[in-house]
């Protein structure tokens, strides 16, 4: 039994907390600002400003959110154990009839809703405003992009929960989450580029794809790349051919593994440590 009253109570508490401390509002506003700025100034390097088509805007937005969403999700979930410990509520919750699974799942659900709400409202409002200028064409692409954003957020949220249980001291959690963020958003891809350069491009598409699948940020980029019609064209990657099995369904499956493994690890570690 996972979705018990205790699970729902924990989820409600997390969501209420994030609503009342204005986290949801702040993140939603930031997304709205990003969306509108990218929509208006996205083509500024080419000497053009003004609202562009939805797909063009989303292609530019992908680069930005692939940095911002992991950072937001890591900071959102990284402190869950440290916060409870500092407040003194962790011991009290553990001494209650609630199980470790109910505690972790409840926390995850609450944060999941808070994050989904912030991203949907922020990006959604931006897209809504954009559609006034550009029409509703491309709204389906927008919904796909939004779902991909939420999946990316959930993956990093589950990683942050694992870090939270693993390290549980706030300072160590903060340091480690920054390291994880740097690794997946910048260092990993630099490493992949390095490998490609060292092997003079002879690495082969199979190993190259496998390397990309080992980074959830790259999985997110691939999902947008394959799933959103004009991305290849916009990004100038029409010549890139991935193996046949790399399709949206496969990538969603990989995302599910990226989401599930840290959550499972969190549950096992938490149960071992606290129950």
């Amino acid at each position: 039994m996972v979705f018990t009253e205790a699970t729902r109570a924990m989820a409600w508490k997390e969501l209420t907390d994030k609503m009342r401390n204005r986290w949801v509002l702040l993140v939603a506003f930031t997304f709205l600002l990003f969306t509108l700025m990218i929509a208006y100034f996205g083509a500024a390097p080419a000497g053009v400003t003004g609202f562009r088509r939805m797909e063009t805007t989303l292609a530019s937005l992908t680069s930005l959110v692939s940095f911002f969403i992991p950072l937001m999700a890591l900071t959102l979930g990284g402190g869950i154990i440290a916060d409870e410990r500092e407040r003194g509520t962790l011991e009290l919750l553990l001494a209650s009839p609630m199980s470790a699974t109910e505690f972790i799942v409840g926390k995850f659900l609450g944060l999941l809703v808070a994050m989904t709400l912030a991203v949907t409202v922020g990006v959604g409002a931006g897209a809504g405003l954009l559609s006034i200028k550009t029409g509703v064409e491309g709204m389906l692409t927008f919904v796909r992009f939004l779902v991909n954003c939420i999946i990316l957020g959930l993956i990093f949220l589950s990683i942050s929960l694992f870090v939270s249980v693993l390290l549980y001291e706030r300072s160590r959690v903060v340091a480690f989450t920054v390291l994880i963020w740097l690794f997946y958003t910048i260092l990993y891809d630099l490493g992949v580029i390095g490998i490609v350069l060292i092997t003079k491009g002879e690495i082969g598409m199979g190993p190259f794809t496998a390397l990309l699948l080992l980074n959830p940020v790259d999985v997110f980029r691939l999902l947008n790349f394959l799933g959103i019609g004009e991305f290849r064209l916009i990004l100038g990657l029409t010549a890139v051919e991935f193996p046949e099995f790399i399709n949206t369904t496969f990538l969603l499956g990989v995302s599910l593994v990226w989401l599930g493994v840290p959550i499972l690890g969190t549950l096992l570690l938490f149960r071992r440590r606290y129950q």
Binding site: A6, T16, R87, L92, A95, S96
Partner: protein
């Protein structure tokens, strides 16, 4: 009845508690005292199922408590941790509802009464220390537990806050049968309230029993404080009592110790010479003296 039977817990090589056997009777008010690092917190955590002992058994109403049993048992235990600040963004009532949902019970009127005025509607972030302690007690009492575990419940409260806290506990105990386990280093709090004291040191129980039993067992002396009129030979008279010992005799003020079995002789002597005293006070040994008398 809650029984700890030969419970031992080591943190790697460091002893938490060793060979603790303790029976807590229904409706009893048990005081757990000891210096920092004596094993009180470890023992409480074992009683709450937060720590698993390396050896020994825990029984509740005669049945060993297994993994499933802990969940059921926790419904019957109310726990009030020492240091807790709760969630600043929730109101008092929302906090109580949160814990009620976790415990699978309702927030009843008795519990609500612990947060007077508009405290239930206010956010916990604006609560005073005393009000947070009331909220802490309220959450512990939800679901009408059979056992209430209090870990340093009055730390940080002023004397009136402490009095108020214990009056609340007494009020609740007058209304229903409630077993209370109180862990504290404030011996004076325990002395006046508990039915039985367990004194811990170095992870072991050094002594247990009612306060009177502990006094008798240790045979600690009575203390006599006398202010005499001018110069007097009262100290010499006192020291004639077998086992008596002078501690201070200066400027007409005298402190002496007399064995408890000489209490009547002491009273006789004092009555005989009462004209020579300005003031007299006789005190029984305090729990603090009992505590330090136990090695």
């Amino acid at each position: 009845m809650f029984v700890l039977d030969g419970v031992t817990k080591y943190y790697r090589d460091v002893r938490g508690v060793e060979e603790i056997s303790l029976t807590i009777r229904q409706g009893e008010f048990l005081g757990l005292v000891g210096p920092n690092g004596s094993g009180k917190s470890t023992l409480l955590k074992i009683m709450l199922g937060l720590l698993r002992p390396n050896s020994g058994r825990i029984l509740f109403n005669g049945e060993p408590v297994d993994d499933r049993g802990w969940r059921e048992l926790r419904r019957r235990i109310g726990y009030m941790p020492e240091r807790i600040s709760f969630y600043d963004n929730l109101t008092g009532l929302e906090t109580l509802r949160l814990f009620a949902r976790i415990k699978g019970c309702e927030v009843d009127e008795t519990v609500k009464r612990l947060l007077p005025g508009d405290a239930l509607r206010r956010r916990v972030g604006g609560y005073s220390k005393g009000m947070r302690q009331r909220l802490n007690l309220a959450q512990a009492l939800m679901g009408t537990p059979d056992i209430l575990v209090l870990d340093e419940p009055t730390s940080g409260l002023d004397p009136s806050g402490r009095l108020e806290f214990y009056s609340l506990i007494e009020e609740i105990r007058e209304q229903r049968v409630l077993t209370v386990v109180l862990s504290t280093h404030l011996l004076a709090e325990v002395e006046e309230r508990v039915d039985r004291v367990v004194i811990m040191r170095d992870g072991r129980i050094k002594a247990e029993g009612s306060i009177t039993e502990l006094y008798k067992r240790l045979n600690l002396p009575l203390k006599v404080y006398i202010t005499v009129k001018g110069r007097d030979t009262v100290l010499e008279d006192l020291l004639r009592l077998e086992g008596a010992r002078g501690l201070l005799y200066k400027n007409g003020y005298l402190i002496a110790e007399v064995p408890p079995e000489r209490k009547m002789s002491l009273l006789g002597l004092l009555m005989e010479k009462r004209e020579r005293f300005e003031d007299i006070e006789i005190t029984e040994p305090s729990l603090e003296e009992v505590f330090f008398g136990i090695h």
